[in-house]
C-alpha cells in the first residue's frame, strides 16, 4: 500500500515538474534569445504567452509503451500548455480499428507503425503526414525457453503484430541473416530452414507463447517485458540492437489537421517533445502515470521494466544485446524523423514478405518518400524550443542507418 502512495506522490511531483518545464521553457528561451534564429523558434515554441486557442484534439492509441509520449502529454497537461483542449485518449484494440477510426476522422492524432503510415499514404493514397517519431527502439524478439538462438527458429512459428510493421521487417532481416526463409502459408520445416510467420494480436502473444503454439514473437513492449515478468519467455534479441535507434511508432495526423490553422501541428509536436523529455527524465514516474492513470492495462512491473530495464549484464550474456557499444536504450524518446531511416525502411519493405498487395512499393522511389510523407521541420523546431539536440541525446539532424542482424 505504501508503494501506491509513494507512486502517487511521485506522480504529482512529476506532473508539477513537467508543467513547470513546459511553462518555463519558452520564457527561458525568450530570455536568452536575441538572435533572429531563436526569435523565430520562440514564436513556435511551447506555451507562448498568451496561449493560442488550438481547439479540441482527440488522440487514439493502442495499449503499448510506444504510445507513451501521447499519453503522458495528455496526463501532464503538455497539450493544454500548447492551447489544446485534449479529450481523454481513446484506447483501440487493433491497428485496423485505430486506422479505421482515424480515416473516419473520429480521432485527430494517432501513433502508427511507420510502414503502416507508408501504406496509408502511398497504398491507400490518403493525405496523412508523419509529424514526429513517437520513440525509438522499444521492441524485441521474445522466445520460449527452449530457443537459444535465431537459428533455433527453423521449423517453428513466430508471431508478428502486423504485416506492415518494423517488426516484420527486422524479423525477416534476422531470419535471412541466419540462413532461414520466412514463409506465410503452409507449415514450417526444420530441414528446409523455413519459419512460419503468423499475425497475432499482441495481447494474445504471451499466452500463445506460454501454451507452446508459437516459438517466439516479435512485438512492442510491454509485451516482451510482460513475458519476462510472467516467466513465459526470454528476450532473444532487442530490435534496437539489430537496427540502431530505429523508429517504430510515429505520430500521424491528416493534412486537414495541419492546414486547420493555429499551427496545430507545431503545437502538437512541441507538446510531444516536452512529454518525451519528461519521460526520459524520470522513467519510473512515467511508468506510474501510464499505469495509475489507467492509460495502459498491463501491470506496472512490466511497464516499468519496458521503460527502464536494458543495458544489464544478463542481456549482454544472453546475446539479447550484441552491440553493446551502441549504448542504446530499450526505448528512446526523441521526435525527429531521420530522412535516412525513411529511405532505408522503404527499400527494406521492398524485400519484405507481406501477405497482401504491396505492388505499390515497386513504383515508390525510396529517396522521395520522406519529403512527401514526413513533415520533419516541426520536430526540428520543437527540439530547438525544448533545449536542443543534446537534450534529446542526438548529435545531429543527420545520421547513417546502422543495421546489424
Amino acid at each position: 500500500m505504501s508503494g501506491i502512495h509513494a507512486d502517487r506522490r511521485h506522480f504529482l511531483k512529476f506532473v508539477a515538474g513537467t508543467g513547470l518545464l513546459a511553462t518555463t521553457a519558452p520564457s527561458v528561451l525568450a530570455a536568452c534569445g536575441g538572435s533572429s534564429q531563436s526569435g523565430a523558434v520562440t514564436s513556435l515554441a511551447a506555451g507562448t504567452n498568451p496561449i493560442v486557442d488550438r481547439g479540441a484534439i482527440r488522440i487514439g492509441y493502442l495499449p503499448i509503451t510506444d504510445a507513451s509520449p501521447l499519453l503522458v502529454a495528455h496526463a501532464t497537461g503538455a497539450l493544454t500548455n500548447e492551447g489544446f483542449a485534449a479529450d481523454s485518449p481513446v484506447l483501440f484494440r487493433s491497428w485496423a480499428d485505430l486506422v479505421e477510426a482515424f480515416q473516419a476522422e473520429q480521432v485527430d492524432v494517432v501513433h502508427l507503425l511507420m510502414p503502416l503510415a507508408v501504406q496509408l499514404r502511398f497504398g491507400a493514397k490518403l493525405p496523412v503526414k508523419v509529424v514526429a517519431w513517437n520513440h525509438t527502439n522499444g521492441s524485441a524478439l521474445t522466445a520460449a525457453e527452449r530457443i537459444n538462438s535465431v537459428s533455433d527458429l527453423a521449423g517453428e512459428t513466430v508471431a508478428i503484430p502486423f504485416w506492415w510493421s518494423i517488426h516484420n521487417v527486422v524479423l525477416q532481416k534476422l531470419l535471412r541473416a541466419n540462413g532461414l526463409t520466412p514463409i506465410i502459408a503452409g507449415d514450417a520445416s526444420r530441414s528446409d530452414g523455413t519459419v512460419k510467420l503468423v499475425v497475432v494480436p499482441p495481447a494474445d502473444m504471451v499466452p500463445a507463447l506460454a501454451s507452446g503454439s508459437i516459438a517466439a514473437f516479435i512485438v512492442a513492449d510491454p509485451f516482451n517485458a510482460l513475458a519476462e515478468v510472467k516467466d513465459a519467455g526470454k528476450i532473444l534479441r532487442f530490435t534496437g540492437d539489430v537496427w540502431r535507434d530505429h523508429a517504430c511508432c510515429v505520430t500521424v495526423v491528416s493534412e486537414n489537421f495541419l492546414a486547420s490553422g493555429a499551427e496545430k501541428g507545431q503545437g502538437l509536436v512541441n507538446a510531444l517533445a516536452a512529454s518525451q523529455l519528461a519521460i526520459a527524465d524520470d522513467r519510473s514516474a512515467a511508468a506510474a502515470i501510464l499505469s495509475d492513470g489507467g492509460y495502459l492495462p498491463q501491470p506496472l512491473a512490466a511497464i516499468e521494466r519496458a521503460l527502464t530495464h536494458y543495458a544489464t549484464e544478463e542481456y549482454f550474456e544472453s546475446g539479447a544485446i550484441v552491440n553493446r557499444e551502441w549504448s542504446s536504450e530499450r526505448i528512446g524518446f526523441q521526435p525527429f524523423a531521420f530522412p535516412s531511416y525513411t529511405e532505408k525502411l522503404v527499400s527494406s519493405l521492398k524485400e519484405t514478405l507481406i501477405d497482401g498487395d504491396s505492388s505499390f512499393l515497386s513504383a515508390l522511389d525510396a529517396t522521395t518518400v520522406h519529403s512527401e510523407l514526413v513533415a520533419d521541420g516541426l520536430a526540428r523546431a520543437a527540439i530547438e524550443a525544448n533545449g536542443g539536440l543534446e537534450r534529446f541525446r542526438l548529435a545531429s539532424f543527420e545520421r547513417v542507418e546502422t543495421i546489424a542482424p
Binding site: A124, P207, S213, I214
Partner: protein, 261 residues
Amino acid sequence: MIVRPDSSRKEILRRIGARLVALVASLGIWWLASSVIWSANPVISNIGPGDAIPALWDGLLDGDLVSDLGSSLTRLSIGLAIAFIVGLPLGLALGSNRLLEDASTPIVNFLRMISPLAWAPIVIVAFGIGDVPVLFLIAITAVWPIALGTAAGVKAVSPALKELAESLGASRRERLRFVTSPVVEANVLTALRLALGVAWIVLVPAEMLGVDSGLGYAILNARDQLDYSALGGGVLLIGITGFVIDALFRRLFRVDPRISM
C-alpha cells in the same frame, strides 16, 4: 425440393419475382449507403456493391478466396463432427433419463448461454493459436443445439406409441428402429441445421485467432491491408456460402423449413 401443395407454375413465378425485387432493393440500399450517404467516408465508400462484387470475383478467380473457403468449410465440418459425436449421446442420455436431465439442466443452460467468443481468451491460454482453438469454438457452439434437439426428440416419442408397440410384441430393438428412431431423427436433423447456422456464424470471428487461412482470416487481413473492397467481397462470400450450405442441407435431408426455425 419440397413441393408445396398449392404451388403452381404461376405461384413459382410470383415467388421468384418477389425475391428478385427484394434482391434489387437490397442492392439499392447497399449502394445508397456506400456511395451516397457515406460517400465521403474513405472506408465505407470502398465497400459498395461496385467494389465488393468485383473484389469477390477477382478473389475467386485468382484462387485465394477459394482456398480460404476450403479451409473454412473443412474447419466447419470437423467442428460440427466433434459437436455431433459429443452432442448426440449427451442428448440421448438427457432425453431418456429424467433424473440426469433434472440434475444437468441448469448447467447446460448456463454453458450454452456463454458466447463462444467469451471462451476465446481461455481457449488461447489452453490450446494456443492455430486450428485447435477454432475447432474448439465451433464445437462448443454447435454442441448445445444438437444435445438439446436430440433430448427433445427422445422425449417427443409418445409413451402410448411405445406401449402400443410393446403390446404388439415388438422387441426392444424393433421399438427403437420403428418407433423412437423416426421421431428422434427428424429432431436431430433440425438440431443439426440449427447447429450448422450458429457454427458458421462463429467460424469467422474464431478464424481471427492466429490462423493463416479461412474467410475470417481473409476479412481480418483485408482490414490490415486497408483493402476494404476485398473486405466487402469476403463478407459477401460468407453470406452466400452460409445461404448455400443451409439450402443444400435442407435439400439433402429434406428438412421442412416451415417446422425447423
